[in-house]
């Protein structure tokens, strides 16, 4: 994972609640064995509608996805995170995330910014009015700032995840440093759990 320190740019307002991972990337795309090439699959069924917000040229340069509550519920498919990133997004803002999606995001450097519903609703209205609102997401400060609106708020990010973002650390490499502890644990596992 590459380090993620500050994300800045404009946002797309995806004003829907309960956007599940089946919508983010429909299951046809899950047959692929590659890790790239998912950008065209992002919201592919909704994108056929010319009025869908991702088809709106006013938001074409945005790198932040501003979503309603319960974003990324449902299936564990990490393809949803890959599709969002490969389509050019660096962060998703929502009042509440599906837990597996959120976890998958943190493994790939996509920043899940969880904020109060009332602030999210205000941002949604403001971004719908002004596509050029400029967002700054600071990982070190765990803060989201929209200067034009006078908004600066903190968002939760577990310190170990924050550290991985800032340093671009590989989770597996961190765990492999504890191989001795894993070996010790394995010596004491219940005997009936050993499979041939």
């Amino acid at each position: 994972m590459k380090p993620v320190v500050v994300i800045e740019g404009t946002a797309v307002p995806l004003d829907r609640s309960d956007v599940d991972t089946d919508q983010i990337i429909p299951s046809d795309w899950l047959k692929r064995v590659e890790r790239t090439g998912f950008e065209k699959g992002l919201f592919s069924e909704w994108r056929d509608n010319k009025d869908f917000v991702l088809n709106n040229a006013d938001y074409s340069g945005a790198n932040i996805l501003l979503a309603g509550p319960n974003f990324g519920t449902g299936s564990s498919r990490e393809h949803a995170v890959w599709a969002i990133q490969q389509a050019g997004f660096d962060a998703v803002i929502s009042p509440r995330f599906g837990p597996i999606f959120k976890n998958n995001s943190t493994k790939n450097g996509l920043v899940p910014v969880e904020i109060e519903s009332s602030v999210a609703e205000e941002l949604m209205q403001q971004v719908q009015r002004d596509p050029n609102l400029y967002f700054v997401i600071d990982i070190a400060k765990r803060s989201l700032e929209v200067t034009q609106l006078g908004i600066t708020i903190d968002f939760p990010l577990e310190s170990s995840i924050q550290d991985r973002f800032l340093k671009g650390l590989d989770d597996i490499a961190i765990t492999l440093e504890h191989t001795n502890a894993i070996e010790t644990f394995e010596k004491h596992r219940n005997s009936w759990l050993q499979r041939q």
């Binding site: 829907r16 609640s17 309960d18 599940d20 089946d22 919508q23 429909p26 299951s27 046809d28 899950l30 047959k31 692929r32 064995v33 590659e34 890790r35 069924e45 309603g68 509550p69 319960n70 519920t73 449902g74 299936s75 564990s76 498919r77 990490e78 393809h79 995170v81 509440r96 995330f97 599906g98 837990p99 597996i100 976890n103 998958n104 493994k107 790939n108 519903s117 577990e158 310190s159 170990s160 550290d163 989770d171 597996i172 961190i174 765990t175 492999l176 504890h178 191989t179 502890a181 894993i182 644990f185 394995e186 596992r189 219940n190 005997s191 009936w192 759990l193 050993q194 499979r195 041939q196």
Partner: protein, 466 residues
Amino acid sequence: MGKTLSQKIWNNHLVRSGDGLPDLLYIDLHLIHEVTSPQAFDGLRLNGRKVRRPDLTVATEDHNVPTENIDQPIADEISLKQIETLRNNTKEFGITNFPMGDPHQGIVHVIGPELGLTQPGMTVVCGDSHTSTHGAFGALAFGIGTSEVEHVLATQTLPQPVQETMSITINGELPEGSTAKDVVLAILNEVGTGGGIGAIAEFRGAVVENLSMEGRMTLCNMSIEFGAKAGLIAPDEVTFEYLRGLENCPEGEGWDEAVAYWKTLFTDKDATFDREVVLDGSTITPQVTWGTNPGQVIPVSGSIPNPQDYADPAEREAAERALEYMGLQAGSEMKSISVDTVFIGSCTNSRIEDLRSAAEVAEGRNVANGVRTLVVPGSRVVKEQAEAEGLHKIFIESGFDWREPGCSMCLAMNPDKLTVGERCASTSNRNFEGRQGRGGRTHLVSPRVAVATAIAGHFATPEDLS
């Protein structure tokens, strides 16, 4: 202070803790399938890493496999490549795979339990959100993404932040004809799709204790639909009886030792939960979803809600969008709505007991004209058991299509799909837009309601049939 069941299992699997890092948990069983593993194996190869414990890793082919003509090569070239990739990866890294057609093949969450791979007190993970199913055995089981699949392959562990605890107690006795599926849909109606986020849910109470293992699996299976990290049930005699004699379970002294340990797996009397939900089981009638998320639930005897009745604007808008997508009018009686298709299957409801309860309703009756039906057993073991009991004959004589095992129309990765506007009563777990095929309209129900609906041609319970 006492500990909850999930805290006990968590603590028993701590490889390390503290130092500003999340807890590192040991994983006892890692189940894999073709969809979420290819990129994980690529990651291992890219970094020159091995699979730490191939002996604790088991693979099967379920999501892509066709449910007809399985003696022929898979026609979809991309699906075929994904299946072949799993075969090559498991061979290269020395992992057992149960391929299409194998006597042990089936949906990953059906075969783990039926082979005795899933046992109380274990940690079980799989790159699939319905891994919570295995919690029915008193295991801590949860779905993971592909990065975590790679992590478990490489280290047999996972770093995990501590979760809150949630108890969901269902007291009393279910009305006759109500099933575990109706219970979990009623829970979803109560807590919504986000009600379990950040917590591990334990199902308790008389209704849960009286469920069979199949019913408990149905209940735990849908924990992720309300966002819970995992769902689990304390093991008891019902659990032990199910496991006794299964291929991968201990025998002799090992069995006694295991049972003695399993009997310590319960929530202490003085333990407390961060969140508590209580339902009265006697009020849970057969349920059905009307919208496009699994929290949009009503009784089969009910009517489609009016979006204007929702106080929360987000819920109101979601309801409006759902009605439009589903092609429904507020106020319509559920039983007046006709269906095009009925699907009986998926990791939620494809086990032998599900098929028995479905066949009981189907026996001596016929599917309504024009209704397409699929009955897809969860595994080859289930299929063979059902055929030994003659259930397939009941289905076939009633006009149901009897298929080969796999995930099938639950998520439309194989040829079994809905078409645009097609309305389906489905025993699966997700009614998301397009889940069963682009433009398809899914209503989640129990196997009993699914069969009654197929026979009536519109939503119905068995009691409505003449």
